[in-house]
């Protein structure tokens, strides 16, 4: 496992995503104000740059015509067809077993955000 130094914690504001290349792979490092996430920048649908999409929340499971908003900052919506992904697991909200994007472990050391690659 190799740790890659991507960005200083003070450089990444809450809600922001920095897209970078690590070991030839395009990866988005995202900070939701609480946690840091590293997500492969390729949508499993049509292979476009997923991390250029919107980091947001979503409507939670509910009864017909009931709207409950939640998971603010935990959902990445693809800039193309709008598929939603869980930033923690990389799984799509619809068909999670079929569609997922790779996520990587992240650690903070000496105020730097490090992405772990195996």
């Amino acid at each position: 496992m190799t740790k890659h130094d991507v960005v200083g914690v003070e450089e990444l504001e809450a809600g922001a995503c920095k897209i970078t290349t690590i070991e030839g792979k395009s990866i988005g490092v995202y900070y939701n104000g609480n946690e840091y996430y590293a997500i492969r920048n390729v949508c499993p649908h049509q292979q476009v740059e997923l991390c250029k999409g919107k980091f947001t929340g979503t409507t939670l499971e509910s009864k017909p015509h009931e709207y409950i908003y939640g998971r603010e900052g935990e959902i990445l919506t693809c800039p193309w067809h709008g598929w939603e992904f869980d930033v923690k697991t990389g799984k799509a909200l619809v068909d999670p077993d079929r569609y997922r994007v790779k996520v990587y472990d992240v650690s903070i050391e000496n105020n730097r955000v490090l992405v772990h690659m195996d």
Partner: protein, 371 residues
């Protein structure tokens, strides 16, 4: 090119023609020079006067296709050239514009003036910017005579290949009030393109045949009924008998419904032919001869079913590739075309469109292998 090495590496050595690219304006004020002063004030409020009612949770235009400096996606030809044409090696692209609810407007004169201004803007800014762009003349269908005038005004331009109507209309397009549009298209040797837009907006009938839906999800699932309704009307009313050279492209309306409709029409024709004595052939024969459909937004079954679906609709004749750039539901060539067997891919990616728009005859091919 060496045949031995092309098998894998050169999936697209025959080129790609993209039949649906949406160019737009940087600002609606850009249309002022092309419009009578009397309409200028409306332009500023174009959202209010160009009906577009359904809320879209995913914005119509892809954010990541924005050219920068706050400009809207699809508004900068230089950016679109790199972002779309160069990136996917697209040889020719048919521009379809973004006045997608023009025929939903209650005021036929404003709608016609706006369409004309948009066409002039396209001719001045997009068409000269790169020879890969081909143009459509967008017309407002509220007043077919004004639409015909617009077609005659610009129809002889060498890089204009199509007249564009939106799929929602007050009355189905087979009906006689639209003949002036078809006469003008035939006179100018242009394809009629029918593109999704304006369903349930303004003066148009409801978005679904059963009433207005609640969500964009529901709307989008059922959009194809407008294309189905128009195709049904055009064939049954005898438009292709009346205008034997006319070709119609159904753009952005999905595909999978075509076998269903053809089978149903042919079956019913056996029983009810006497209602339409002007039809000399089965409906499906008119469709295979005169009608083409574009891929995007393609239904996404698994690959095997996709190929079956293409076979059922005779895709080697009827289907043309499109991206719908820069809209949210656009398809990359790599996604759709890669799923098809080689022969079908070549027809869909390139040859069907080259034939439909007579690009060879018009001297508008760069070097593809269309017959």
């Amino acid at each position: 090119m060496e045949a031995s090495t092309t098998k894998k590496a050169s999936k697209f050595n025959h080129g790609i023609i993209d039949c649906d690219v949406h160019q737009g304006v940087k600002s609606y004020d850009d249309l002022k020079p092309y419009m009578p002063r009397v309409w200028w004030d409306r332009l500023k409020a174009h959202n209010a006067t160009l009906p577009f009612l359904m809320f879209r949770p995913i914005p119509l235009e892809r954010n990541d296709a924005a050219p920068g400096n706050g400009l809207p996606s699809g508004s900068d030809p230089e950016f679109a050239k790199v972002d779309l044409l160069d990136r996917y090696n697209i040889e020719r692209a048919v521009l379809t514009g973004n006045l997608l609810s023009i025929s939903a407007h209650n005021n036929p004169d404003y709608a016609a003036a706006l369409a004309s201004a948009f066409n002039d803007y396209t001719m001045d800014t997009w068409i000269p910017s790169d020879e890969r762009w081909l143009g459509s003349i967008v017309v407002a269908t509220q007043d077919p005579l004004l639409a015909a005038k617009e077609i005659d005004r610009l129809g002889s331009h060498p890089r204009v290949v199509q007249v564009l109507l939106t799929s929602a209309s007050r009355e189905p397009y087979g009906q006689r009030r639209y003949y002036p549009i078809y006469e003008a298209a035939a006179r100018n040797n242009l394809v009629i393109g029918i593109h999704g837009g304006g369903e349930g907006d303004g003066i148009n009938p409801s978005t679904t045949a059963a009433g207005y839906p609640t969500t964009n999800f529901e709307r989008h699932n059922i959009l194809a009924i407008h294309h189905m309704s128009q195709l049904n009307s055009i064939v049954c009313e005898g438009v292709f008998e009346r205008f034997p050279t006319l070709k119609v492209a159904f753009i952005e309306g999905g595909l999978a419904w075509l076998p269903h409709l053809m089978w149903r029409m042919d079956k019913n024709f056996r029983a009810m032919r006497n209602e339409v004595p002007w039809l000399k052939y089965k409906p499906s024969e008119y469709i295979l001869k005169h009608v083409r459909l574009t891929t995007q937004p393609i239904e996404e079954p698994d690959n095997k079913e996709l190929v079956q679906m293409f076979q059922l609709m005779h895709a080697e004749k009827t289907v043309m590739f499109s991206t719908d750039y820069p809209h949210w539901d656009n398809d990359t060539p790599l996604f759709v075309l890669n799923k098809l067997p080689e022969e079908m891919r070549r027809r869909v990616a390139y040859e069907n469109a080259a034939e439909m728009y007579q690009l060879q005859e018009r001297g508008l091919l760069a070097g593809g292998v269309a017959k």
